[in-house]
Amino acid sequence: MPEITRDEVAHLAMLARIDLDDAELDHLAPQLSVILDSVASIEGVAGDDVPPTSHPMPLTNVFRDDVVVPCLTAEEALSGAPEVEQQRFAVPRILGDEQ
């Protein structure tokens, strides 16, 4: 039975950028274990010879012509922004590097 520990949940929450507090971690970890236990039943259902399906309809090569279409105006683009400055999205200080 796959067990998911509180520490693992905390790590996953960090990856997912959710600030779970202790109470939430206590609550979530056992629930996730139960869910994982039930979904673990698919282990071994499909053998190595079965190809995975990522898309239900078998389409390929859907391309767009390289032709410019109208953009949003800056006003529309920024309309939902919590903060705007100099026609840019104002965001809290960014730590660390780009990947």
Binding site: L15, A74, A90, V91
Partner: protein, 496 residues
Amino acid sequence: MTATLVPFEEVLERYDPALGLEVHVELNTATKMFCGCPASFGEEPNTSVCPVCLGLPGAMPVVNGKAVESAIRIGLALNCEIAEWCRFARKNYFYPDMPKNFQTSQYDEPIAFEGWVDVEVEGETYRVDIERAHMEEDTGKSTHVGTTGRIHGADYSLVDYNRAGIPLIEIVTKPILGAGAKAPAVARAYVQQLRDLIVALGVSEARMDQGNLRADVNLSLSPRGSGVLGTRTETKNVNSFRSVERAVRYEMSRHAAVLDAGEKILQETRHWHEDTGITTSGREKSDAEDYRYFPEPDLVPVAPSREWVDELRGTLPENPVQKRLRLQADWGFSDLEMRDTVGAGALSLVEETVAAGAAPQAARKWWLSELARRANDTGVDISAVGVSPQQVAEVQALVEAGKINDKLARQVFDGLLAGEGTPEEIVASRGLAIVSDEGALGAAVDNAIAANPDVADKIRDGKLAAAGALIGAVMKEMRGQADANRVRELILERLS
């Protein structure tokens, strides 16, 4: 951390370097990778954006067919296999520059893989194996704002998403082993060659200084002869050919110092500092970094037909190695001259200068002496020196027409760099034209002979080499604006 570096030659006594290069090429398509917004530069902030590249809820990507075509052509030019079927994948990580908090990229199914290019360094050919070339999208651009003038004194950032979604091709080499002391030069030659190839394909502006071409340099050292790969570092965004070479040298010396001290190399990204020529620690690569790749469900697989691939193969420019042989024959360059030209990153510049009408040797001379020196002085790549092949050809035409000489030509280059106009305008405005007035020239020659009677005697006695002293005196009086050959003729006429 470790302040001391191990001298380069010493590094090689104890270690073998392994190199790897990841180069991002920004394509010059009209639109972005997954939407119809213009992929142009210099627009007002957040005006080249739409729901797709802004990552608005509900928006969906559609692949730019032209970008796929460019990716395939790059792959073919790198002698890669082209995937019969491949998919886009999501690379999941959070970063405010990235609107969706995942980058739409390719993971284990790149469009092109298993290729190679041959690069030449000092007459030796190195084969660089290409692991893959894949399609992805660029991020937005953030600017950090300092603490001044903010009510809460907090610093913050401003983000412009115009660049988000511009198509990128990432080209990744396999580890380059066995280059030894030439590792820095091989790295540089590879990136130069890649640039030439991209330019010839016409798929990108490929300007390193503009960020169209960005190189990440991976380096590790292994104890000499052990064959065991060491821990690598990745130096990001090295933005000139010269810096690629310097960054490799620096990291080799730094790695050796760390290893010599019995310490471990941290697997991390490093920042290259152009001004000081060093790298500093960036982000540590850790287990916490987990991109959770999975196939992008909003895009369907790309399955280029073999007919399409063959058709694109027919559009490829000449193979660079063959092209080099052809140019060498056409230009009549010696092996050494050719090698120096390639090594200086001036092959395409010379080619364009010749195409603009200059003689090959003259074109080579200007680029490899005068302009290479200036590029070196200002620390830029020769292609970014600020003088175009067309202008070099114009300067040379003035020399050949006898309007200026080589020495005056250097002043014309000064004028070009100072933005004083065309070569002809500079010659006129700076008053650089050679004086062809025989009267003035003859008077100057007579003055020189009169002032140096003993030199004149030597020449009369047949010691023609002494003429140089008189020529110098004449040129001085003419302030350089005379044709030295004509001066010599006049002197010999008078003293024979």
